[in-house]
Amino acid sequence: MDDPRPAPAVTARTLGVVTPQTARFDQPLTLRSGAVLESYDLVYETYGTLDAEGSNAVLICHALSGTHHVAGLSVADDPKTAGWWDNMVGPGKPIDTDHFFVVGVNNLGGCHGSTGPSSIDPRTGKPWGADFPLVAVIDWVHAQARLADRLGVKVWAAVVGGSLGGMQAMRWAITFPERVRNAVVVAAAPYLTAQNIAFNDVARQAILTDPDFHGGHFYEHGVVPTRGLRLARMLGHITYLSDDVMAEKFGRMLRGNDLKFGFDVEFEIESYLRYQGDKFAGYFDANTYLIMTKALDYFDPAREAGGDLAAVLARATARFLVVSFTSDWRFSPARSREIVDALLAARRPVAYAEIDSPNGHDAFLMTDAHYHNVMRAHFARIVAEAR
């Protein structure tokens, strides 16, 4: 990495094309599992300009299949290459890059450029594959902290994330209280329930039992466990949508005019899920999927205090904004309330919004006036308090 404070790619009211950068770290990182990563790369993007005090930085943490490409375009004039949270981050957006220096980073174990199972293991000269150590949310936070050091960010104005990203925001506030002024935790949970873990394990089993998986070393065989990944994604996708939104979008609609009495695609929902599965299997790494789901399963910060979430959150000094969505059953509002109630018990500053939305877990990625207004209000407040 050449310049730790790159010039922002700012155009009129859009971010325009944003170029990812790579930061190399040669200081070993000891992981929660005890394994040690001797060196690693983190791929990241930044939007907006870091102020002289380094106090306007916002970290966006991605969820299971997210990337460092949060906002802006990868390819000029191609809206299909917009970042995964482009509706939230940008000039004039709720997380306004006219005021904030926003950082998106691909997490360790990822498959979008940061060191992960598809990277080359320097010890063998071959892809890590199944030998890549399992990483936990706290490991990501430690790696992100080193990136923050590199970028000149001492304190994040906010650490923000949805779903698994929200867990990273919580973890940041607990582990580095002095480095987080605001934690924005959207559509998350303080830990996974048995049902959540069960879904994850079915997804993992789909991958692990795919004959093309080869124990995680499929790269060397020149194949990809497409069938497993596809099934994993199809299953995941069901849990990201609500029953209502599926009924509304697809109902019992048929692709053709009539029943065909076979196993090919008949219902629209089958077509949709298979399409999503195929698309995902075409670019996502199977080992990364396994690692990400395991990081979800392992997340449980309350464990450090014998299950007392309030005791753990009492370490945080950040102001929290917790947001949930009424139709999210993957991480329901009740799960967000667990976080909020623990914050209340710990006497921490918190605001909680339960957004009325039909869009299930995916709602955190969608444009919704109430949701975006709350986010906008929170970030405007951060700007006002900094003045």
Binding site: A345, A353, N373
Partner: protein, 201 residues
């Protein structure tokens, strides 16, 4: 949550600010845009939290930097710990709630002390309008019968009887009309009532 009437009563809020202890923990139920909590923070440096069901109110609180929990008061205060607050405030909201008994019980579970204010249905101007054959409309009851959120209106005597029957001890009462304290015939001359209450132990 309905605070339209409450916002008109400056003296009502003044009294609440007086009653709340310096640096205490306060929960404001039906906090609206957070104006009362803002005042309490400014004048009493309280550790304040608001509850409101309306997303726009929640957003206004977030914009003002007020701690706020979006929640339906009708479903109680589960999630709030026993005796977690010094004061739990229910200002001009009681009369608009379905589950009156539950919210009073919950207030006194969560708070050491409750502060309740409501428009007095027994105020002579209200009684007079009923005698003349109409539902009362006033500063304190600014709605028509068909659009009012107020479903559980009561008089001072009604509320005090309710307290007696529900193990609620009245610590202090303040009765106001046009922002001035009323000193006699409260149930007839008082437009608004405020009570400091606690659970009988």
């Amino acid at each position: 949550m309905n605070r339209a009437a409450g916002q008109r009563q400056r003296a009502d809020l003044d009294a609440i600010v007086r009653w709340v202890g310096e640096g205490s923990r306060v929960l404001d139920l039906g906090c609206g845009d957070g104006h009362l909590l803002t005042r309490l923070q400014r004048h009493k440096r309280v550790e304040g939290y608001g509850v409101d069901f309306d997303i726009d109110s929640v957003t206004q609180c977030v914009a003002a930097g007020i701690n706020v929990i979006q929640s339906d008061l009708e479903r109680g205060l589960s999630g709030f710990g026993d005796q977690a607050f010094d004061h739990v405030i229910l200002s001009h909201t009681l009369q608009a709630m379905h589950s009156t008994e539950r919210i009073v019980r919950e207030m006194l579970r969560v708070g050491r002390e409750g502060i309740v204010s409501f428009p007095n249905f027994g105020y002579w101007r209200h009684r007079w309008q009923v005698i003349r054959g109409r539902m009362p409309v006033s500063e304190d009851l600014p709605y028509q019968w068909f659009d009012t959120p107020n479903i559980h209106l009561c008089t001072l005597r009604d509320f005090e009887l309710f307290c007696q029957q529900h193990g609620v001890h009245i610590l202090e009462r303040l009765v106001l009309t046009e922002n001035r304290p009323v000193s006699s015939m409260h149930n007839l001359l008082g437009a608004t009532a405020l009570y400091r209450i606690e659970a009988l132990r």
